[in-house]
């Protein structure tokens, strides 16, 4: 397992008026042997970032490195494997699951070698190896997602990118897939970028949490710290809004202010200055003297702030501790 890092990665789509930067100058490191959770609302660019890493979309700018060496050739890309959101779409319906997995096994092992490898991988993801001959249609969503994981692991990747791998699953099987991710990580020391819009899911599996907003990483840091003392108001908002047992909807949180009932900004036309300023509970709409938020982009100096937060006031925002009544 090796370290994956993004350096100023930008991905643009379209041209002219419809052009947008789905990913805009992202710096992010996934240290060897750790799981980095990437959260953010849909459309913030999480999937695009992962696809750029595995070469499914071309980057416009920046560099993606594996242990410091830029990824270039196709051969390098195989070192990264991606698991997709929808296990009903990510397996070829015409191919047995054994064949799908075998396809990703590197080199040219003989027929028996390949079968043994498939059996080992199925075992690894808690599936019965005798099911290698089944078609995906005979499997439940949770089982398919296990197959997809096995296929990713078959390539002996250095890094696994998991894009919303539990979102399409029923809640009663989501837990088993998350448990599997945790177990695999322990057994194999996986390096992983784990993408989800669900903060609770990300929290459960990640060592580091990175928060994405409108194509940018606005905060990144050790999971426990980001969750207990978020430095960016957007992270705070996400934490406040996450449904929690025993916490009533009525207790207002800063982000419930009517002032902030605005449309989420469009990636085609990001707001000037801080991209979050129109929805920020401690930004210019609620604290009028904070004009700097409209005038100056907080991104460039982010590296100097705690959690690399893209907020002018990250350092002096009182670390808002997260008080959660025990369930």
């Amino acid at each position: 397992m090796r370290e994956l890092s993004f350096h100023g990665v930008t991905v643009r789509f379209g041209a002219g008026r419809s052009a947008l930067a789905a990913v805009d100058g992202v710096d992010l490191t996934v240290p060897a042997g750790s799981v980095v959770g990437l959260v953010g609302e849909s459309g913030s660019g999480k999937s695009t970032l992962a696809k750029a890493a595995v070469g499914l979309v071309p980057t416009t700018d920046g560099e993606i490195r594996l242990d410091g060496a830029p990824l270039r050739a196709r051969r390098d890309r195989r070192r990264l494997q991606m698991v997709f959101q929808d296990p009903y779409a990510s397996l070829d319906p015409r191919m047995t699951i054994g064949a799908s997995i075998a396809e990703a096994v590197p080199g040219r092992p003989g027929r028996t070698g390949r079968a043994a490898e498939v059996a080992r991988l199925l075992e690894l993801v808690d599936l019965d190896p005798s099911r290698a001959g089944s078609l995906p249609s005979g499997l439940s969503g949770g089982q398919r997602q296990r197959v997809a994981l096995a296929r990713a692991l078959a390539a002996e990747p250095d890094v696994v990118l998991a894009d919303e791998i539990t979102s399409a699953l029923d809640v009663s099987v989501q837990g088993s897939v998350l448990n599997l991710v945790r177990d695999l990580r322990r057994q194999l020391g996986l390096t992983m970028l784990f993408i989800s819009h669900n903060l609770a899911v990300v929290r459960y599996v990640s060592d580091v949490i990175a928060v994405m907003y409108l194509g940018r990483i606005v905060e990144a840091g050790p999971a426990a710290e980001v969750l207990t003392s978020p430095r960016h108001p957007y992270t705070r908002t996400l934490l406040d809004a996450a449904p929690r047992f025993g916490v009533a909807l009525d207790d207002p949180v800063p982000a419930d202010s009517e002032l902030l009932d605005d449309e989420p900004p469009s990636p085609h036309d990001p707001p000037p200055g801080c991209r979050f300023h129109r929805r920020c509970p401690i930004g210019p709409l609620t604290v009028p003297e904070r004009t700097v938020c409209v005038e100056k982009d907080p991104q460039p100096a982010a590296a100097d702030r705690p959690h690399r937060a893209a907020c002018h006031f990250a350092s002096d925002a009182a670390p808002a501790s997260l008080e959660v009544p025990a369930r």
Binding site: G142, S176, R182, A242, P243, L249
Partner: protein
Amino acid sequence: MGRAQWRAALRNPVGAVAAGLLVLLAILAIVAPILWGDAAEATDPAALSQGSTSDHPLGTDALGRDIMFRVLVATRYSLGLALLATAICVVAGVILGVLPAVLGRRSGRLVVAAVNLAVAFPALLLALFFAVIFGVGARGAVLAIGLAGAPSFARLVQTNVAAVSGRDFVAAARVAGVGRFRLIVRHLLPNVGEPLVVNATVLAGGALLAFAGLSFLGLGVQPPAYDWGRLLGEGLDRIYINPSAALAPGVAVVIAGLAFTLLGEAIAQVVGIRTTRRILPRRSATPPADPADGASTATAPAPTEPAPDAVLAVEGLRVGFPGAGPDGWTYPVDGVDLTVRRGETVGIVGESGSGKSLTALSLARLAPERAVVTADRLDVVGLSLAGGDGDALGDEPPRDDPAVRKHLGTRLAMVFQDPMTSFNPSMRVGWQLAEVARVHEGQGRRAALARAIDRLRTVRVPAPQRRAHQYPHEYSGGMRQRAMVAMGLMSEPELIIADEPTTALDVTVQRQVLRLLREVQRETGAAVVLISHDIAVVAQLCQRIVVMYAGRVVEELPADRLDRAAHPYTRALLGSVPDLTTDRELPLATVPGRPPDPASRPAGCAFAPRCSFADDVCRADPRLATVAPDQRAACWHPRLDDQKQHGQEPHGQEPHGRQPHEEGVSRA
């Protein structure tokens, strides 16, 4: 295309006839030249250009050769040439079709453009053009017809391949390092095979006709060889002397062409490329109200009087579809009881397929056309939509009774998961809202629009004046959801049913929509039924929670008693969803197996195969029974301890061959 599908294609009458004809033609093509090859060449100087005689039933040609034998013998050549042309067309088409997927972006686009240009050119002209290039004769004609058909086949391949290329499994194979060639052979072509087979079959019919045409014009087969086209050409010269000389080869061409085309159609029907209207059972084909085996004993035996302030009182609601169940029907909703009082907020939770949405749709009389809805009681906002012994709602009162529509339209509001599909995309949002007031309350245009703007303001859509004049697509998901709630508020609803209203939204927006529902409920006194797969979402908003599993209510409890849930399934749901306080060191609880398919729901407790407390008793149907004040559970062994003591559950996983009882949803 699987073996079963081929068989189905043949069982289809059109397919059977077409396949029979083709088999006949194939046999003819093989044996005719052997049996009658010489007879067809034999000249009979005594019978030149004769009409029908006993020796020559279809007459003879100018050299006295027997026309019947000649038509039969020509089968081989005609079919062979047509198939050859088809093969050329398919091979060239597939190559051109997958080329864009193999080449880089730029050269790929070039190929697509070239193919599109060629498609725009009439195929017959193209064929004539090629025929001139390749020279007159059978070889030239085969090439001409094959290549002329290639562009449109290539485009078919291109569009199909492009559609499949966009799917995740192709991306996954790319990421796994599968090479381009293998990608095409293993992933792309097999998944576009069906439409290609169908079109190739139809194409063969077309090639046959085209070939006959070229030969007829003298551009195809040259003497002394002959095919049906040439025979037709010769016969036509003497049509007044011997009509059958022209008719026989003509009929042969038509029959063979038809056989190919019909077979293609039959295959297409079976693989569902061109869906034909299926015949549905008439709505009056009501399922038995109560199956003899008492499978619906979960419902109360006799309807009891509902609470006087109930805005919704449902007993024994069943929704059936014609399907694979034991009585020819499947019941995704199978005996739901539900009462909602004025001003109450009730949450319905359950996994996908548990029947939540169908229940909601049935309440609003929006169940799909094919569904048959029955209930012992179905009182919705003061209107009795069913009663007595399981009336089918399809009969009485009629589905589109305007009085019922109006009543429901003004007192019941529905909010769906995807508000985009609930709005008319071509109509401004404000006007759509206004229309509700105009239709149901007969308000004037201006007053209705003013009310619409007022409602948009109520749901905190910013700048409602301006936004009322925008189209739905100009709204973001969260704003559309607000507008949907506003639409429900155009009249004064007593009941708002929201089906997964926040599933497509982000947590921040989700919170806003939930708070909005709460506010609306407080201000208007309307009852709210919130349906969701996420028990945490439901617990936030609702006072009472109803848990559904496999088409039934398995537990009903106050939200603040969730930690004392009695049904093992409710506990499993709670334990398997991580929240921000879940212990990261412990594995999450899991439920082995998966929810049952409505067509094969196990007898007795439907949760039994996944439940670690199941025993023999559970083979009988558990009814909803009171286990604590305000709490009812349908379980023979309700859990009555405090779930907190359990913490997280032992590690389990989906079973593979293991006994389902081996690992449980809770520590026994």
